[in-house]
């Protein structure tokens, strides 16, 4: 089986890969909901491009997850035929789009994390992970350039754009803590030299976020409270609806090829 990795149990690696794949799949789905509805034509193009990158990343992570699992499931079986409790994305990714400011802030907070994590993953002891990270890392760097720049412009724009960006930050802040939680899966991955411990990325993430927010004249809420659950399959009400839409054809017409 091409899925073997002598450094770690395959069920642990599988779970970890789902966290990567599901987060970008769900986020990519959310971003794609903007198609044709964005504030300006250039953003229609940019949002479609970001969604496309994220779906592409999801395909790579989920294909590898299926390979590691070794039960014959591929990217589509994993994306379309699991229910919400088997999804392992962070709660931040599934938060509804809200206005453009909320979509953008969610993107910025995740992009910052993605850039740091993917950079570390490029030196993963598993060459398959390193290869995905190398490709996805370039995309994430571009996504962060864009989202950070727009957060600054809109944070320090008009009073209304400032208020909306501050609202977005206030609404989403308590979902950022989950990015840095570390459990036995992260520990095992880290011990095997396969992935960084997410907790180790926190200070660097905080630094980038603080710098951007300062330039954007925005203030992060003074609260360390974190909503948790996405990474272990306990999601918000939103994910079920997202999946009902995404999985409709595969569920309604089982066995068809498309």
């Amino acid at each position: 089986m091409g899925g073997s990795n002598d450094k770690i149990a395959s069920d642990i690696l599988f779970e970890w890969l789902l966290r990567r794949g599901d987060t970008v799949l769900v986020l990519g789905h959310r971003v794609s909901e903007w198609c044709g509805h964005s504030p300006v034509l250039e953003e229609d193009i940019a949002l479609a491009n970001v969604a496309l990158d994220l779906i592409g990343q999801a395909r790579m992570w989920l294909s590898l997850a299926g390979e590691v699992e070794g039960k014959g499931r591929g990217e589509n079986e994993l994306a379309y035929l699991r229910d919400a409790w088997d999804f392992r994305n962070v709660l931040l990714a599934e938060q509804p789009n809200g206005d453009f400011g909320k979509t953008l802030m969610r993107q910025f907070l995740i992009d910052t994390f993605q850039v740091l994590q993917l950079k570390e993953l490029e030196t993963s002891a598993d060459p398959r992970i390193a290869a995905i990270a190398a490709k996805a890392g370039k995309e994430a760097a571009y996504h962060l350039d864009r989202s950070a720049d727009l957060v600054i412009r809109l944070g320090d724009g008009t009073p209304e754009s400032h208020r909306r960006m501050q609202d977005a930050l206030d609404q989403l802040w308590s979902y950022t803590g989950e990015l840095f939680t570390s459990d036995e899966i992260d520990q095992a991955m880290s011990d095997a030299g396969l992935a960084p411990d997410p907790a180790s990325l926190k200070s660097e993430w905080q630094k980038t976020v603080d710098e951007v927010l300062a330039e954007a004249t925005l203030t992060a809420p003074d609260s360390a409270f974190a909503h948790l659950g996405g990474l272990t399959g306990r999601h918000s009400e939103h994910l079920g609806h997202l999946l009902a839409e995404m999985q409709f054809l595969q569920r309604a017409y089982p066995g068809a090829t498309w």
Binding site: L41, I55, F100, A256
Partner: protein
């Protein structure tokens, strides 16, 4: 064809002897196959007609994101989702390209968008039809992009330089989209019974609206004659429609689908198919705003524009602040 029934302001096509010297020189350049560039002299009618035509084409690309976007979140596989996203991104890119081409004629993108939202400019009638099942995404690529290509390939040779160059690039992407659409139709037509039913249903609903994309017969139209003299229209609507039918019928046969036209027959003498005309009263109703989705499409575009006003204002305000800071530092 994303521009339909574009008016020219002409009441007749004038003979070269009736033209002013400037106009005559202009017409002679066109007749020699030269490209007209934005800074060149051009008759007012030429400029206005091109703004209408290119603007209508650009609006079609933008509104055209909506029926396809309707299935992005429900695409049946991740690969199909990625292909559709890339396609819709291309359409937005075409819109951008075309608005830029129109801007070289002295009209801004915002002005054109305001005219669209005020109902003073049109977009292609086809995008007022709904996408009801997944095969519609195939049908849009196969038939709608197919019909668009029929018109846009000759327009690569159009007389206005920026429009011609935009068309060359757009055509490359459109033919890719058409192949992708046909590929979806193949999968559906060769798939389960339910998928075949979706494919036939999509063809039934999109066939006549696709024929309408070329516009009513214009063999007696002054506007078309003037546009053809200016080489901003290359073929008549009937020529293009015939070509489209002749190309598409064998493809439908290959898919095992039936064209919903009992009068469709091969005509040996003309070397093409005889086929039924679409219901032109339906076409004019759609143009008047009474298509199945006119209201939804325009509401969606206006809502996106209005909801996005704070973003555009915020970006402008920030740019002003930066410019002021730069000036203060100097």
């Amino acid at each position: 064809m994303y521009a339909q029934m574009v008016k020219t302001d002409a009441d007749k096509v004038r003979d070269i002897s009736e033209m002013s010297p400037e106009e005559r020189a202009f017409q002679e350049r066109i007749d020699r196959g030269e490209k007209i560039e934005p800074t060149d002299w051009m008759p007012d009618g030429y400029r206005k007609t091109l703004i209408r035509q290119i603007g209508q084409h650009a609006h079609s690309e933008i509104v055209g994101q909506l029926p396809e976007g309707n299935w992005i979140t429900r695409a049946p596989t991740l690969e199909r989702k990625a292909i559709l996203l890339a396609k819709v991104q291309d359409e937005a890119g075409h819109g951008l390209y075309l608005y830029c081409a129109a801007e070289t004629l002295g009209v801004s993108r915002d002005e054109l968008i305001e005219l669209l939202h005020a109902g003073k400019m049109k977009y292609s009638s086809i995008f007022n039809y709904p996408t009801l099942n997944w095969a519609d995404i195939g049908a849009v690529g196969w038939l709608v992009d197919g019909a668009a290509i029929m018109n846009q390939v000759p327009l690569q040779r159009t007389s206005f330089g920026p429009y011609s160059r935009a068309m060359i690039r757009i055509c490359k992407e459109e033919s890719f989209h058409q192949r992708q659409g046909f590929d979806i139709m193949m999968k559906m037509a060769k798939g389960t019974e339910a998928q075949r039913r979706m494919a036939q249903d999509a063809l039934n609903r999109f066939w006549y609206p696709s024929l309408m994309m070329f516009g009513p017969s214009d063999k007696d139209s002054v506007h078309s004659a003037q546009s053809m003299a200016w080489k901003i229209k290359i073929n008549t609507n009937d020529e293009l429609r015939q070509k489209f039918v002749d190309q598409t019928v064998p493809q439908a046969e290959y898919l095992g689908l039936s064209i919903p036209d009992e009068h469709l027959t091969w005509n040996e003498d003309k070397g093409g198919f005889d086929f039924s005309e679409p219901d032109w009263s339906e076409f004019f109703e759609v143009l008047k705003g009474n298509g199945p989705c006119n209201r939804e499409r325009m509401d969606a575009r206006v809502k996106a524009w209005e909801d996005g006003a704070w973003v555009r204002d915020g970006l402008m305000a920030h740019a002003d602040k930066r410019a002021a800071a730069r000036q203060a530092a100097e």
